[in-house]
């Protein structure tokens, strides 16, 4: 029988990582994601799978504990919410520079500063463009349901180890706090130390006579070597862009207008598509599931089909830049966002779409 539960998003991803064979979680409480650590602690993971769970003294300590564990080849993770993730930026940049696989979770709340604890999507830039220093990317997964919070635990670890990269699950307070149905799957066994040596031969597990010592470092004082390291990093990101794009097309086939939205906003837009179709508007939704790699090619294709795109985000306009870069001026791309912890309503975003592309402006194809 399938194991079906009603869970909070935060609980679902916690259960997800346990079942994905996670070795270690290091984290620090912050609303609206403290349930992740609480769930893991309540679930006696040490006894269930051997997974270690430790409350660190800060987010900075958390990310560097993750660094240590990841550098030793383990499946490790941390989670936090916006201010805590900001504190991790140096650590994330170090993990990027050392190409360490790990799972990160940001249950975004409204900023800037202490802001509010309500859901928001205003950390897109930080996550996708690089909040830390240097040229790097993480794979960014944007769940739009509690089920995806659960699913992306396993997927996240898989991608992280496949590409030796950090995978960030970019969620928000709504997805983290809400309960929905979740279908759970089987426990994946944790890797044994012997498996780790095979799967991650680069890991620092103790130098044995059969190999040279392993070193995890992001430093090279020689700029020529440092450039090569960076070029290789860029090649990896290019490869990921070419192979790992994920998105969902909702009523796109005949769409004349398009919503582009991820996470919570995508749920709103999905409803708005239904409403729009009721009103006779041929509107569709492209939901990026990976924010990096971004569905650039798909959007470029759709740009040839639709008359306008509306990027809906709970932010002042962040993902919209990636939509515009993909569309490259072919059709108008507008942005609609609510700020500070407020979620827009389906009819609200539909009205904006109408106002932008149908009612007021008469659309003219882009020339010159």
């Amino acid at each position: 029988m399938k194991d079906i539960r009603l869970m909070k998003g935060n609980e679902a991803i916690a259960e997800g990582v346990i079942r994905a064979g996670c070795d270690g979680y290091f984290g620090y409480p912050i609303t609206p994601q403290s349930e992740v650590l609480e769930y893991l602690m309540a679930n006696k993971t040490k006894e269930r799978t051997g997974m270690i769970v430790l409350q660190a003294e800060s987010e900075i300590a958390s990310i560097h504990m993750v660094y240590g564990g990841a550098a030793a080849g383990k499946r490790v993770m941390t989670s936090s919410s916006s201010p805590g993730i900001s504190l991790m930026q140096e650590g994330i940049s170090f993990m990027a520079g050392t190409e360490l696989p790990c799972l990160l979770l940001n249950v975004v709340r409204g900023g800037p500063g202490l802001g509010t604890i309500q859901p928001s999507q205003s950390d897109y830039f930080q996550t996708v463009k690089g909040g830390g220093h240097g040229d790097y990317k993480m794979i960014v997964l944007a769940p739009a349901s509690v089920q995806e919070m659960y699913d992306f635990a396993k997927l996240g670890f898989e991608l992280a180890f496949k590409h030796r990269i950090q995978v960030m699950v970019l969620s928000d307070g709504a997805i983290g706090q809400m309960m929905e149905k979740v279908e759970l799957d089987e426990q994946v066994p944790r890797w044994t130390d012997a498996e780790i040596k095979i799967k991650s031969p680069w890991a620092t597990t103790g130098k044995t006579p059969d190999r040279e010592r392993n070193i995890i470092t992001s430093l090279d004082l020689n700029p020529v070597k440092q450039e090569i390291i960076n070029i290789n990093l860029q090649k990896k990101f290019k490869h990921i862009q070419d192979t790992e794009v994920r998105f969902e097309r909702i009523q796109c086939d005949d769409a004349e207008y398009l919503f582009v939205a991820y996470g919570s906003s995508a749920r709103i837009c999905q409803k708005a598509v239904l409403l729009g179709r009721e009103r006779g508007i041929k509107v569709g939704l492209l939901r990026p599931i990976t924010l990096f790699p971004f569905p650039t090619i798909e959007l470029a294709k759709l740009a040839k089909q639709v008359k306008g795109m509306l990027s809906v985000e709970m932010s002042a306009g962040q993902m919209v830049e990636d939509v515009r870069l993909a569309v490259n001026g072919v059709v108008p791309v507008e942005h609609y966002g609510r700020l500070g912890g407020i979620m827009p309503a389906p009819d609200e975003v539909l009205n904006i779409l109408e106002k932008n592309f149908i009612k007021e402006k008469s659309y003219e194809p882009h020339t010159n």
């Binding site: 070795d23 270690g24 290091f26 270690i52 430790l54 660190a56 003294e57 800060s58 900075i60 300590a61 958390s62 560097h64 504990m65 993750v66 660094y67 240590g68 564990g69 990841a70 550098a71 030793a72 383990k74 490790v76 140096e90 650590g91 170090f94 050392t98 130390d193 620092t204 597990t205 103790g206 130098k207 044995t208 006579p209 010592r213 392993n214 070193i215 995890i216 470092t217 992001s218 430093l219």
Partner: protein
């Protein structure tokens, strides 16, 4: 034999009484001439060799002059961000409780930016070993004031001497963490004379072997010189260290197992 042996006769492998441990790589150390980091490296590697721990050891070195320690120590190593080695080591040790995990940190690293991590790794009593090289200065970045800089000592950022009124007092972090129930063995050593080298090695041996007992954190401070930062020759700096650093940072065991 009763004849006086020649140099060649003496210099045979079987007569060798001291040579660099094979756990140091062939790379030339990047340290300034006479810098204590080199001796500290050697002692740690000697003990790991003698205890046959190479395959079980994971070392962590953050930023500081010893940032390239991985070029010299022939073991698996992780380079950590400034101040975060204790957190990194925690991450490793929790997941590999049977490995020998150590950090090698400078005073700027451990007692300034890394203070929180230092206190908490000690308070949690992580079963790791911390080697703490205290030269009273930021060597790597060009000789700026550290939390451990002595009163009135001149550095690049205290060019008129450390004024304790405005810049604070030298931080005796080792005494501080010795107060925490999570620490098991805490000792302060130096490596500037043969006798001190021998004592320091004993302390390092203890700190490493205690880790097996899972009793908590072991901490060995090595008061050391920074010829470049102090703007002295190596011999002058060792003398200055004896005259000025040791009164403030007295050598000896600070906490020993009961």
């Amino acid at each position: 034999m009763s004849h006086i042996p020649t140099k060649d006769e003496i210099c045979e492998p079987e007569n060798m009484v001291y040579s660099r441990t094979c756990l140091l790589t062939d790379n030339a150390l990047s340290y300034c001439p006479g810098c204590g980091h080199g001796t500290a490296h050697r002692l740690i590697m000697e003990v790991i060799e003698e205890m046959n721990l190479q395959a079980d050891t994971i070392g962590v070195a953050p930023v500081g002059c010893s940032v390239l320690a991985y070029d010299f120590m022939n073991i698996d190593m992780q380079q950590a961000a400034h101040g975060r080695a204790p957190a990194v080591a925690t991450g490793i040790k929790r997941l590999y409780p049977d490995k020998f995990v150590f950090t090698y940190q400078g005073d700027g690293d451990l007692a300034a930016i890394g203070t929180g991590e230092t206190i908490h790794v000690c308070n949690r009593g992580e079963n790791i070993t911390v080697f703490f090289v205290n030269n009273g200065i930021y060597g790597m970045t060009g000789g700026q004031m550290a939390p451990t800089t002595l009163p009135n000592m001149k550095t690049a950022t205290s060019p008129f001497g450390r004024d304790t009124e405005t810049m604070g007092h030298p931080l005796k972090i080792t005494e501080l963490i010795a107060n925490l129930p999570g620490t098991y063995f805490v000792s302060r050593q130096s490596v500037h004379t043969p006798a001190n080298v021998r004592k320091a090695k004993k302390a390092i041996e203890k700190a490493i072997s205690y880790q097996k007992l899972n009793k908590g954190l072991c901490f060995v401070e090595i008061v050391s010189n920074c010829n470049s930062g102090w703007k002295m020759t190596p011999l002058e700096s060792n003398k200055w260290m004896e005259d000025n650093m040791f009164p403030y940072y007295p050598l000896g065991d600070i906490k020993v197992p009961k």
